[in-house]
């Protein structure tokens, strides 16, 4: 049970201010989600064969410089780390699979939060304002982002259980609500060699949709299939490298509101997270209807 925020900047001149515009949105959702916070930010994609991996070190002290030297010695190619507190974004010319395999044996204390060309992801326990400060969210630049504040329902309060959840590449999902058949979804996906990292219901939804996208469904088709298979109450906000998508279940018990201007589209669980956006009072404000898929492209 949680708060959701999302922001997509249509106006390219605002993109250097993405993080700055978003931080008050996230702090506005503190009451809905005081336990943990996180966000996935989508930047201009890295060039050609490069990929990015967001890494989380937790409480373990990490010598990132040494890690970089070891990685360069072990795997051919360029590997650079951009470190913020106990997170780092690794940009690499090697394949993500090779990096993940190497990390799992040489730096098992690290968690890979996401993989892609455009996505960076930060999430941790703590009040949203603290998490935002810890990872300098206000400095983030990019085209769009998906953020979340969490009040844990069934699963534990840990960084891994915080949202956003990711699956595949350049895909993430946040959720406000509670699924009533997450284990069934999970048991459907596990035999397809889809691995789960937590027992969180949101991860089930995230891996379900990513599986459908990989199978060739459009996001819209995947969501419609989800109406049949994912039971419970939800507002989902999803991000891909090009797109932000929003959907609510048929009962629409979990709130959501959208503000759209020529400059941006902003989504939040409640208006109080949108109140500080520039010219929000001139925005087109609306509540997304149940079982309709709303999506916006950069």
């Amino acid at each position: 049970m949680c708060g959701i925020v999302g922001l997509l900047l249509k106006n390219a001149s605002l993109r250097p201010r993405l993080g700055e515009l978003m931080v008050p949105m996230m702090i506005g959702m503190t009451e809905r989600g005081p336990d943990s916070a996180g966000l996935a930010v989508f930047t201009e994609p890295v060039a050609g064969p490069l990929h990015k991996l967001s890494l989380y070190a937790g409480a373990a002290p990490t010598d990132w410089k040494q890690l970089q030297r070891d990685l360069c010695g072990a795997i051919d190619g360029e590997h650079t780390f951009k470190v913020t507190a106990n997170h780092a974004v690794l940009t690499t010319s090697a394949t993500p699979e090779a990096i993940e395999t190497w990390l799992s044996s040489h730096a098992p204390e690290l968690t890979v939060l996401c993989v892609g060309r455009a996505i960076d992801l930060y999430k941790d326990t703590g009040a949203p304002a603290e998490v935002a400060k810890r990872y300098e969210f206000a400095q983030l630049k990019g085209t769009h982002l998906v953020g979340h504040t969490r009040m844990a329902t069934e699963s534990a309060v840990t960084p891994a259980h915080a949202h956003p959840f990711t699956a595949g590449q350049d895909f993430c999902l946040v959720h406000n609500g509670s699924l009533s058949n997450p284990y069934m979804v999970r048991r459907k996906l596990e035999p397809l060699d889809i691995e789960f990292e937590t027992d969180n219901d949101t991860e089930a939804a995230c891996r379900y949709f990513e599986w459908r996208l990989r199978e060739g469904d459009s996001l819209r088709a995947a969501v419609h299939r989800g109406f049949e298979e994912l039971d419970g109450f939800y507002t989902f906000l999803m991000g891909t490298d090009r797109e932000l998508a929003l959907v609510r279940d048929a009962f629409a018990c979990k709130p959501a509101i959208v503000a759209e201007t020529d400059d941006y589209v902003a989504v939040a669980s409640e208006f109080r997270s949108l109140a500080h956006l520039p010219r929000v009072h001139d925005a087109h404000l609306f509540e997304p209807k149940p079982q309709e898929v709303y999506s916006w492209h950069i």
């Binding site: 506005g28 048929a250 009962f251 629409a252 018990c253 709130p255 509101i257 409640e270 208006f271 109080r272 997270s273 949108l274 109140a275 500080h276 009072h281 404000l285 609306f286 509540e287 209807k289 149940p290």
Partner: protein
């Protein structure tokens, strides 16, 4: 007139004033600015005060209202005027889910659309919606009247008791035990009065009446069957 700017004053201070410190004059006036989606603005009022809110409000604006007139020049979050007992609440923008939930008296006017479950468990209040209402509106509504100038989503009036719904536009579907009934002269008069109270100019003849078929009142009637 007293002004509260919620950019610098807490909702707590506003409500304490409205509950305990109103001046002893007829219909004192209070203006609230910069609500910015704050919750529980002007809830639990128990006096004929006139509250004008400029901006969008969060959950439960004018919740459990008695006697007061509350107007929101903006949109309202979930549960606007929930469990209202009396008074008059006007939302000039749209209202989120469960507007007027369980309201027992008074009148709630929503000039824009109302979201899902508008008038759920309604217990005697009047609700007039200028736009359309979302699905499951008037769910289990027990008493009171709803006038919907636009259309309605799915399952309108599901498990209705004695509340009556008047709707002008398309109804996507009726809920269990709800049915269309002919408009009587009395119905038209009621709609005309409520429209005039709300300030909407529609012809009452354009409205259709929905009430309970009362088939679920004794849902275990078949329990007597023995074979």
């Amino acid at each position: 007139m007293r002004e509260f700017d919620l950019a610098s004053t807490s909702v707590r201070e506003l409500n304490r004033y409205l509950h305990k410190d109103l001046p002893a004059v007829a219909a004192p006036k209070v203006v609230v600015t910069h609500p910015d989606g704050a919750h529980s603005i002007a809830c639990g009022l128990d006096a004929p005060v006139d509250v004008e809110v400029h901006g969008h409000v969060g959950y439960y604006v004018a919740g459990m209202n008695k006697h007061a007139r509350v107007a929101v020049n903006g949109n309202a979050g979930p549960g606007a005027a929930e469990n209202m007992m009396s008074g008059f609440v006007r939302i000039r923008g749209f209202a989120s889910t469960s507007a007027g939930a369980s309201a027992r008296g008074g009148c709630l006017v929503i000039e824009g659309d109302a979201s899902l479950r508008c008038g759920i468990s309604l217990k005697g209040a009047d609700i007039v919606v200028g736009g359309s209402v979302g699905s499951f509106s008037a769910f289990m509504a027990q008493a009171g009247r709803m006038v919907i100038c636009g259309g309605a989503g799915d399952a309108l009036g599901d498990s209705l008791y004695e509340a009556v719904i008047y709707v002008r536009g398309e109804v996507k579907s009726l809920g269990a035990d709800a049915r269309f009934e002919p408009m009587s002269a009395e119905d038209k008069k009621a709609v005309a009065e409520l429209l005039s109270l709300a300030g909407f100019k529609h012809d009452p003849a354009e409205f259709r009446r929905i009430a309970s078929a009362r088939q679920l009142y004794h849902w275990n009637a078949e329990a007597n069957q023995e074979y």
